[in-house]
């Protein structure tokens, strides 16, 4: 059996992982093809029909400005994917670089970098994000940067731990004896051997990042209106909870489904990539 085939067999050993992948793909299609799937313009106000419950024309009703809730959820998938994936990429690149340098050089470099990472970890996550929002301001690109920076510690610590396990192995010494620079040794020889745990942590972080984005947008510290974000929609809906609960319920359900799918898929990937984890659980 080829390696790829074995990997996919392990990945989809549990049916739920396949279901998770389908859910992720579904939301991905929503994000890519939002104009086709939405029934209305997500930003168009219609003050003649505000906070109406579900009807034939508006499947999930309308919000306080008469915007179609269903269409806004479809468009909200864009923000979720964009922020979730790009922020994780940023934190993976920056965090891994810090972890790689700290683990490889050790000594005072390690000490300084890790104390900074620990300091970042001591600040409660949303508080850290709020402080970063104060610095960078509110827009989708800045939000990606904010969430990317606040997730650095996890990657840095994971990467450092990985590097420590391979740093003293023969092939690393061999690379150094050959006269390779530290940079070449780190990037060409150490990094590839730390990739699979990194991919696992990346997949598992996407869900959490989407949650953070929703949380910040809920607090009004995320994307600016009128861009539709699921978190901001729940916040809008909270005001009209008594009159029209579906308005807060629907976007929240979208968040849960997508985050759950990413988490389950991440766990599946971990089981498939890490043979030691296979068959456990």
């Amino acid at each position: 059996m080829s390696n790829t085939k074995r990997f996919f067999r392990a990945l989809f050993a549990r049916k739920i992982v396949a279901v998770a992948l389908v859910v992720i793909l579904f939301f991905f299609i929503c994000a890519v093809a939002s104009p086709l799937l939405a029934t209305h313009d997500p930003d168009r106000n219609d003050l003649y029909s505000v906070t109406k419950g579900p009807s034939k024309e508006h499947v999930l009703g309308t919000d306080q400005l008469g915007r179609d809730v269903y269409s806004r959820i479809v468009y909200g998938a864009r923000v979720a994917f964009l922020v979730g994936i790009l922020a994780v990429l940023i934190s993976a690149v920056l965090g891994s670089a810090i972890g790689l340098i700290a683990g490889y050089f050790g000594g005072w470099v390690d000490n300084v970098l890790m104390r900074i990472v620990e300091a970042m970890m001591a600040i409660p996550p949303i508080v850290l994000a709020l402080a970063l929002v104060a610095i960078f301001g509110r827009s989708v690109p800045m939000l990606i940067l904010v969430l990317g920076i606040s997730a650095i510690p996890g990657f840095a610590r994971m990467m450092r731990g990985q590097v420590l396990t391979v740093r003293d192995l023969d092939y690393v010494s061999a690379s150094r004896i050959r006269g390779n620079s530290n940079f070449v040794t780190m990037v060409k020889h150490i990094l590839p051997n730390c990739l699979s745990p990194m991919i696992i942590v990346m997949t598992q972080s996407i869900g959490g990042t989407i949650l953070s984005e929703a949380g910040l947008s809920f607090l009004g510290a995320g994307v600016l209106p009128p861009t539709s974000s699921w978190g901001a929609m729940v916040n809008d809906g909270y005001t009209y909870l008594e009159k029209c609960p579906v308005f807060a319920l629907a976007p929240g359900t979208a968040v849960i489904l997508l985050v759950l799918a990413f988490n389950i898929f991440g766990d599946g990937l971990r089981d498939a990539l890490d043979p030691r984890m296979r068959g456990r659980r």
Partner: protein
């Protein structure tokens, strides 16, 4: 043990200094003049200069830091132009609320999470294991603000059992306080309960596979003794380190929960300070909230070293 304590104490101080540097940097990294950013550009130049000087912004950078941190340690954190009061006074009023909420939800997370984790591990493969594991997965994926909104919908709007907002100190009116705290505490602890359940389960399963458990079984010990006396004791050690993390996450969550339930705590102060560009309050808030997590981490590490002698000798 003494050396270990000293080392950890030293590390905590270093981390706090780094955090204070980050908080200090905040006011210098924000775009534009901090005083105009805070008070708007329509203030008179004289007033601007007065505030500028009172914040020590006219000093050289290094001196500014020591001026600021020196004042901070003495309790002179400055004046909050948004809340119209001294920051120390504001913190004194608001911080206890968040700490009470944070600690009670951290305790709830640990107790229920451990309980569920042990149950799922012992009953591995049984229906109760599947149910709790599925619930834990959902719990991790649920945005706490959404859960809070749903609880309000069901228990405040539909059933009218619990108040949807407010906070009372437990020593003022215990019954009312418990009623008001129930939903916020549950919301803040759901994520913690879920991750504790998962961690405890996998930690327990690992321990149950060890030789000493087989030895205990072959010795003819009762299953209850094996689980409580041998398995749980060993499985808990790695879980202990998570407690510091839990309090930190609970306090982070308070920013959201305090907003939903309209609670006047430190979390809502941070959100309001951000919205109104009150950087002086933001700076102090970062330090105070981080200080709590740092102290908790320190206590956990001491407990950890006490529980596992191997750590002390490292």
């Amino acid at each position: 043990m003494g050396r270990f304590l000293l080392k950890r104490l030293f590390q905590t101080v270093i981390i706090l200094i780094i955090i204070s540097l980050m908080a200090f940097a905040l006011i210098h990294i924000i775009p534009g003049d901090p005083v105009y950013a805070m008070l708007g550009s329509d203030i008179t130049p004289e007033y601007h200069d007065q505030v500028y000087e009172s914040m020590g912004l006219n000093l050289p950078l290094v001196q500014q830091y020591f001026h600021w941190i020196g004042n901070f340690v003495q309790g002179k954190m400055g004046y909050s132009y948004h809340f119209k009061m001294d920051v120390l006074q504001l913190v004194q009023r608001r911080l206890p609320v968040t700490v009470i909420l944070g600690i009670s939800s951290a305790i709830l997370s640990v107790v229920l999470g451990l309980l569920f984790g042990i149950i799922t591990a012992v009953r591995r493969g049984k229906p109760i294991d599947s149910i709790l594991t599925v619930l834990a997965n959902i719990g991790i994926a649920t945005p706490i603000f959404w859960l809070a909104v749903m609880l309000v919908l069901v228990f405040s709007i539909k059933l009218r059992w619990l108040p949807s907002w407010g906070f009372t100190m437990p020593w003022v009116d215990f019954g009312k306080s418990m009623k008001q705290m129930l939903m916020p505490t549950i919301c803040m602890s759901v994520g913690g309960i879920a991750s504790y359940t998962r961690q405890t389960r996998s930690s327990m399963l690992e321990v149950i596979g060890q030789d000493y458990i087989r030895t205990a079984r072959s010795k003819g010990l009762k299953e209850g003794r094996i689980i409580m006396g041998h398995a749980v004791k060993n499985a808990l050690i790695p879980i202990l380190t998570l407690i510091g993390m839990t309090l930190r996450n609970c306090i982070g969550g308070s920013a959201i929960i305090e907003r939903v339930f309209n609670i006047a705590g430190m979390g809502s102060v941070m959100v309001e300070a951000l919205g109104n560009r009150d950087y002086i309050t933001l700076q102090s808030g970062i330090i105070f909230l981080s200080l709590i997590t740092c102290l908790c981490n320190l206590l956990v590490d001491i407990a950890y070293a006490y529980a596992d002698p191997r750590i002390r000798l490292e």
